[in-house]
Symmetry: C2
Subunit: 494 residues, 2 copies
């Protein structure tokens, strides 16, 4: 009976430890403690063991190395004697000496992160521009795109996670359906039916890691079908444009006016697909008007065009009735993208996409080969929060909070930026102010940052020229922070 050599018999003796890959077979005869102490010193010197690290329990390490416990105790004692380690009673033996020669970490440079604060805004925005903005120190952050994070429902999240872990079958922890867990796909389908007027089955829902991933997956699939351009609104999200371009798409700009995207110019662009934000255009905040909605849908049916509906903050509205999703009218031509980034927290990296039926399978493949599907536990927790009504409660609470902050920002703009035109205040998490004067809004943003206040220049979100301005997020700041931040901008401007 042929057997390969590595089949163990009863006599097979495992030896060696994962810890520093120690193997007593490497030790010279009779010098086990010396050898072990030397290996430990080396690991401290080259940084593999850091100050504060605990050494393994003597019994554990001795067992793994198949040496007597005395060998390990003696080696640890030598380290204690020469000042590398210290005994800490029940906490065991801990490294206390700083490494003698730490390995030089490989220099890792981003492209704008090391620039002086102002250059974050005045330089051409690079791939890492939002990382650089985030990293720039500021007292008050009015960057758009983030809800009130201080009120994230931590207790409810933890309670839901306990329920999930209390009932989940072990197989639920294995590799899963790349489309997402059935639980979350069901909950999202219900949520969209209830809150966004979309009738879709759970099998039409694909769970993704946020809308950024949706754009990437979609671009891959479209590129595979020979598409090389996806039109975007202008002004429109710089981030979305960067994502599409990374995935090989041109992004022809289509102007936005008070009724939303100008469909005639979309038609003229010849682009076979377009990303739109119909419920609350980013960054202007206009709602796609009824006539334009019909025109856009006609464009899609006439030309076979694809509408990518980025429904990023539709739930946040204050002074106007809700607007149903385009997807509800025209499922064959609308790829709907939503997420919890503006509802719970961007750090959850959880969203969903409803593709037209003929793109669905290719998107699922793209998701599979991107990451084999999103992590299961956060999906199940979110499904629980949706099904229990917790997420609707959260939305109502957020809306009250955001409205108060929105009102504070409008008052502050009235007071401190009297020459500004305000747009998009009826809904969302930000408003846009523009100015008649002819100056570079990147300079304004840089000057504000130098005075401790962060906001986006409108020009970042434009491909064509337009009035200078700022996009001011209010949802994640306190009322006093908003007042002070806008006052600083007013001073800088004057």
């Amino acid at each position: 009976m042929p057997r390969s050599k590595d089949v163990p018999s009863d006599r097979s003796i495992p030896s060696g430890s994962d810890f520093l890959q120690l193997d007593a077979a490497d030790a010279p005869a009779g010098g086990l403690s010396d050898w072990l102490a030397q290996r430990l010193r080396l690991a401290i010197a080259d940084g593999r063991l850091a100050v504060g690290d605990r050494l393994p329990a003597t019994r554990t390490l001795a067992g793994e190395l198949r040496v007597s416990r005395g060998v390990v105790t003696e080696a640890y004692q030598r380290l204690i004697e020469d000042g590398h380690a210290a005994g800490r009673g029940r906490a065991g033996t801990v490294v206390v000496a700083a490494p003698v020669t730490a390995p030089a970490p490989a220099p890792v440079r981003t492209r704008t992160a090391d620039a002086p604060p102002g250059a974050v805004f005045t330089a051409e925005p690079g791939a890492d521009v939002f990382d650089a903005v985030r990293a720039a120190p500021a007292r008050i952050d009015l960057s758009p795109g983030t809800p009130d994070l201080a009120s994230f429902p931590r207790t409810a999240w933890l309670r839901a996670e306990r329920r999930v872990l209390g009932t989940l079958a072990a197989t639920g922890l294995g590799y899963g359906d790349p489309r997402g867990t059935p639980e979350l796909r069901r909950a999202v389908a219900k949520w969209l039916a209830r809150n966004r007027g979309i009738a879709a089955g759970p099998d039409e829902v694909l769970i993704v890691n946020g809308t950024a991933q949706t754009l990437g997956l979609l671009a891959q699939v479209l590129r595979g079908r020979g598409v090389s351009a996806v039109a975007v609104e202008d002004p429109g999200s710089l981030g979305a444009r960067q994502h599409l371009r990374y995935w090989g798409m041109r992004t022809p700009p289509v102007p936005v006016d008070a009724d939303g995207i100008r469909v005639g110019e979309l038609r003229d662009s010849g682009a076979p697909a377009v990303v739109v934000t119909p419920a609350h255009q980013f960054p202007t905040g206009v709602v796609l008007g009824g006539g334009r909605r019909r025109e856009l849908m006609r464009w899609a049916t006439d030309t076979g065009g694809l509408i990518v509906e980025d429904d990023y903050d539709a739930e946040h509205r204050y002074d106007r009735p809700p607007v149903p999703a385009l997807r509800a009218m025209l499922p064959e031509h609308v790829c709907y993208a939503g997420s919890v980034s503006k509802l719970l927290a961007p750090a959850l990296r959880t969203g969903w996409v409803l593709a037209p039926p003929e793109l669905h399978g290719a998107l699922v493949d793209a998701k599979r080969f991107t990451d084999l599907g999103s992590a299961a536990l956060p999906q199940l927790v979110l499904a629980d929060l949706m099904e229990s009504g917790e997420l609707e409660r959260r939305l109502r609470q957020l809306r009250r909070r955001h409205r108060a902050r929105r009102d504070a920002m409008i008052r502050a703009v009235d007071t401190h930026l009297p020459g500004a035109a305000v747009q998009g205040a009826a809904a969302g998490l930000h408003l846009t102010v523009t100015f008649d004067a002819g100056f570079a809004d990147t300079d304004l943003a840089a000057a504000a940052l130098a005075h401790g206040v962060k906001a986006h220049p409108v020009s970042w979100h434009r491909q064509r020229c337009g009035r200078p301005g700022l996009v001011l997020g209010y949802a994640a700041s306190t009322v006093s922070g908003i007042e002070e931040g806008v006052a600083v901008i007013g001073k800088v401007l004057a």
Copy 2:
């Protein structure tokens, strides 16, 4: 002072509800309750409201619609009277009638999932082959690649999550560093130093959604540099090959013998990169021998070749000393990929990659434009488990459990598959049995499945012909399941 029309004044009156996008302005004069009842019936009929769904509290909905509470109460009452809904006391009003005309869900078909059980193995493996295998019903699952999921440390996970949520700053819930949280990058750097002999700083670590994502990101970056082929071990993982091919790479096969990959043939292939599993080759389980390690490193330095080290289950070893990672020797040429899929659970979708310095920035960009970085909470929980020593405890516990199962499988193979050669039993989560006879192992796998036992045919993981066999995972099954599963395979074979 120019102002756009949507700036609210104090008199602005929000109205309308997200719930079904109801707006009382749509109601005919004097018929509010009728209108509301009718809208609810419609939503039940078209599936937007399902049986078991709770209607909003009357007070909430009345407030949102700016109608008197009596209007909503009356509408609900009508639904209760005509059998659509039922009052449930404190639980409110709940939908009880099945929808009259449910919308036909769009048919979503995968390519192998609908095939009869056996065809899962006998058909050419498609993109969704692992989904299909997972979906195929079976009494005993000996698929490789999954650790013991029943012992997932649920309590420790929840405790760590409570600690994380108790201390996390609100900004930690916003958009974050695409490389991963500093906490997890630090913890992984320590873990790798301690357990895999790799000295690397946290800035060299990139957190990803598992090794599948690593392969995709890397293939994107390499393709951008004109690389169109990544050599793979043969036999070698079908999954890894599928991922590389999806991302546009050819995968020239390089034979594996008892010492691991044959470097001479890698050199002959001319491929500028290779994916290897040096610590425990998949699926054969051989360890890359010392001479071969040196040869492989020489290949990399001579040719500027890239070694992708998939360290998928290096921590799981039973009868042999640990093998240090190639990355520890040659950081400029080795891209190291690890994950918690075999240590905790694949469903966590969390892993890490240490790229050669010159690829690092491009990989970070690829990660950013894939999903803006992995979700933060699971990263922070994992960091806590690593720093607290919980993960090392888990590993020790897993090793004991897996060893007992491995031993049971070897005994069962001895008894029921006396003609089989066993490979790779000294470490890992699976072993491989091969047979001298000339039959198709896909037929064997299909027949076993028909008798309720799942295992992978070795030929799936081969590009060139070889002896038929099965890859048998033991880590996720009980001892009695293993015994019965192997007995069934023995019967099928006889």
